[in-house]
């Protein structure tokens, strides 16, 4: 969190490192295994709730159905790469409309910026998949091997039937969760019930197994084994988000003004002249990142608030006020006011800017989405040859018109041409000059057509490029679209 300024006494830029053994310092450090103790309290409850809700959404979403009519997928949320569509309930995003997805991602990023500017690393602490899955994996580990002390003991034990059994059960459970995780992800890309059946009978496409394997292994490796290493060494976000933080952003800090000088406290000892911190290290024991929050804000801290729960529990027990470790701000710590969030300003230029951008881009996207036409078209004039001289001295140009029917029903269209006097239209696939052109539900149909001008009518042309308008009209509803193009001829 370098942006907050290196001079700040609350900031140290330190990953957990162990002092060297007095020799040439090693360029490599082994991972110190972390044994997080279970925390109890408000923030632990919030994290459980977030875990249940986010995993619930993740697993259930691909199974929701949405009737789109015959011949179309009925999966509510489907990233239909094969047909180049993204299906979100009633919304169909076509490949050429991917800017809606880009816009949604931009709004999401800005929302992340806003939350970070106001409340710090909320994403890291609660919502990041790495955090959620690591939390789940630790819970499973705790279920099989017991809490912190039991796990520490188990790891120091010699190998025994009990140890093998507990370790094996843990890893098998992790792998099972990983398979289900990878399995759920591939359901977003292919009709879920069909794919589930194919997976069960071993007839799914090869690529489905490949991605199932990839996501299984990444979940197992990143959530089960690597855990905090991902946040500290792999993730760019801890480095980037410093740009969104300032003195008014919430962050979790040990409030040394209350806590110091720390030290063990006997039951009948006075609290006069000493801090509230009894150096019980409960905050260190629960930390999934293996750090000491009392060292100040640090890159490795994902701001999960479990140390707040742990410390509050101790404070309750020894009869001191809560929030020795609390969500606070740098401004608050510097001014050393009483409550942890006194002087916290939410509305400031940075948050106003993010909010305005979110409203502007989100509003523009929503407006354009609500007003997008059910009929779209494009015109591509032939370029080779640009024009053809006919035997009577007339000219002919060829065009490929693409009719895009965005409705979920088949429709019929007529194509009209205007702007060139005496223009005659003929089609390759259809007879006559004004055929009914059927376009299936949610499909694109390219139509090749020729526009000709007889020799005598060439007088009406404007040089080598006469403006021409090609229009497409729904034969039933009259909905129309038009595109301007040119009718080419020889240079004059």
């Amino acid at each position: 969190m370098t942006v907050m300024g290196g001079h700040n006494k609350f900031i140290t830029d330190a990953a957990p490192t162990k002092p060297g053994a007095g020799k040439e310092p090693s360029a490599y450090a082994s991972r110190q295994k972390i044994y997080p103790k279970e925390a109890h309290g408000t923030f632990r409850d919030i994290k459980w709730a977030v875990l249940v809700v986010t995993l619930g959404i993740y697993y259930i979403l691909p199974w929701l159905r949405w009737d789109r009519g015959p011949g179309l997928p009925d999966q509510a949320f489907l990233l239909d790469f094969a047909n180049q569509r993204l299906l979100f309930g009633p919304l169909q995003i076509w490949a050429q409309e991917f800017y809606y997805v880009t816009g949604a991602l931009v709004v999401s990023a800005l929302a992340l910026f806003l939350v970070t500017a106001v409340a710090g690393r909320m994403w890291c602490g609660y919502a990041c998949p790495q955090t959620v899955w690591t939390d789940l994996m630790i819970a499973v580990e705790r279920f099989w091997q017991g809490d912190r002390n039991a796990r520490l003991r188990l790891d120091q034990q010699r190998w025994s039937i009990e140890k093998i059994w507990k370790k094996a059960a843990t890893h098998v459970s992790w792998l099972l969760i990983s398979v289900l995780t990878g399995g759920a992800l591939i359901f977003y890309f292919r009709d879920a019930p069909t794919l589930a059946g194919e997976l069960a009978t071993g007839t799914a496409p090869y690529v489905a197994y490949a991605f199932l394997g990839i996501f299984t292994m990444t979940t197992y490796l990143l959530g089960g084994l690597a855990r905090e290493q991902v946040c500290i060494y792999m993730c760019p976000w801890p480095r980037i988000q410093g740009a969104m933080l300032d003195k008014d952003s919430l962050f979790i800090s040990y409030r040394d003004i209350r806590g110091e000088p720390r030290g063990a406290h006997k039951r009948d000892q006075s609290w006069e002249g000493r801090g509230d911190c009894i150096d019980c290290k409960a905050c260190v024991a629960v930390c999934p990142m293996g750090i000491d929050i009392r060292d100040g804000a640090q890159l490795a801290c994902i701001q999960c608030a479990l140390c707040i729960d742990a410390c509050d529990e101790i404070m309750d027990r020894i009869g001191r006020p809560r929030e020795l470790i609390a969500y606070t701000t740098v401004r608050n710590l510097e001014s050393a006011t009483k409550g942890p969030r006194e002087g916290w300003r939410i509305i400031r230029p940075r948050t106003i800017l993010y909010s305005v951008l979110i409203a502007a881009i989100g509003g523009l996207m929503t407006w354009s989405l609500l007003n997008r036409a059910d009929l779209q078209m494009s015109v591509l004039p032939d370029r080779n040859p640009l024009f053809v001289v006919l035997s009577d001295g007339g000219l002919r140009n060829g065009y490929t018109v693409k009719i895009i029917n965005k409705l979920q029903t088949a429709r019929q269209f007529r194509i009209g041409v205007s702007g060139v006097p005496g223009a005659r239209v003929q089609f390759v696939e259809f007879d006559g000059s004004d055929p009914l052109i059927g376009v299936a539900a949610a499909e694109v149909r390219p139509v090749k057509l020729f526009v000709s001008v007889d020799g005598p009518a060439r007088k009406g042309l404007r040089g080598d490029a006469t403006p021409l308008t090609i229009s497409v009209t729904d034969a039933k509803t009259g909905e129309a679209a038009a595109r301007k193009t040119i009718f080419s001829g020889p240079a004059q």
């Binding site: 991972r31 006919l390 035997s391 009577d392 390759v428 696939e429």
Partner: protein, 314 residues
């Protein structure tokens, strides 16, 4: 270096290296698993060399234990694509060419397949867009030397023009100049006359003299009205399309030498289905004529028939 170096400001360990007397570097060790990941990548590279084709040798390359080859993959894909197309190709072979359009799916396949065949085989002379060049007909327009309905196009592609094939179009225009059939002055006159039919600027006196020369020498093939005859490849001399150009010089040169462009017979080079598909493609370029049975209200597609030999592409 036996002791630890501690940076006073941060209290953290330094690497012990000193630059310019006082610049030191904090020691931020890389996680050891990252190092192992690097080693694993090296092992992977060695495994790759053994399993897949990797090293060039003097006369070849190491094949790898799996025997994998991208060429074999391509051959497999091509075979699969051919097998998938076989159904359509069989249907095209069984369908009269004029009926292909009645099945939109088959028509699309024939047209797109024909475009591919055209690009590989016909584009070198006729151009990528079939736009032609001097001496090579533009296949987009509505003027056809040998007829522009589907069957006529198919026949021309199959047997070619002056290609040495027994069924080829082999009528030739006489070399009126080289063989001394006409005097240079007569050639000049008749060229003026022919060009006057297309309302080009001509020497009116010469054109008037050329009219009789035309009737005596050219009308047998090109017709009294000079509108040509597709049965013998005699071009229409009254329209705006000139295969060899419409200047006085170009037209005189055509009369002197007889021209006589050559197109290879594609039977034997292409399979009959590919020829059928390329005919459908060429016909769909915009100038294709309807089948004779479809011509109803006496459109000028049908031309007068002349039996005499002697033909002139313009």
């Amino acid at each position: 270096m036996g002791e630890k170096h501690i940076d006073e400001t941060t209290g953290a360990e330094t690497t012990g290296h000193v630059w310019d007397g006082d610049i030191m570097e904090l020691n931020k060790p890389l996680p050891r698993w990252w190092l192992y990941t690097f080693y694993a990548c090296i092992v992977w590279a060695f495994a790759y060399w053994i399993i897949y084709p990797a090293w060039p040798l003097m006369t070849g390359y190491t094949k790898g234990v799996l025997g994998y080859s991208q060429r074999a993959e391509v051959a497999k894909d091509v075979a699969a694509a051919n097998a998938a197309q076989e159904k359509y190709r069989a249907e095209i072979a069984a369908t009269p060419i004029a009926d292909i359009k009645k099945n939109p799916e088959l028509f699309e396949f024939a047209r797109d397949g024909g475009a591919a065949v055209f690009g590989d085989n016909c584009a070198p002379c006729h151009g990528r867009g079939a736009q032609g060049a001097i001496g090579y007909p533009n296949l987009n327009d509505d003027d056809w030397l040998w007829g522009g309905d589907l069957e006529q196009i198919q026949k021309t592609i199959t047997y070619g023009a002056r290609a040495g094939n027994p069924d080829t179009h082999d009528t030739m225009m006489p070399r009126f100049g080289l063989d001394k059939i006409l005097e240079p002055a007569q050639i000049n006159d008749v060229a003026n006359y022919v060009r006057s039919l297309s309302h080009l600027d001509v020497d009116a006196a010469a054109a008037a003299r050329g009219k009789q020369i035309f009737a005596d020498n050219c009308a047998a093939c090109h017709g009294d009205d000079a509108k040509g005859n597709t049965d013998i490849g005699a071009p229409n001399l009254t329209d705006a399309i000139w295969l060899y150009g419409n200047s006085q010089q170009a037209v005189m040169h055509s009369i002197e030498t007889g021209r006589g462009g050559v197109m290879p017979a594609w039977i034997g080079r292409l399979d009959p289905v590919s020829i059928k598909m390329v005919a459908v493609y060429v016909h769909s370029l915009g100038g294709g004529k309807p089948e004779p049975s479809k011509v109803e209200d006496g459109k000028p597609e049908e031309k007068e028939h002349h039996d005499e030999k002697s033909e002139a592409p313009k």
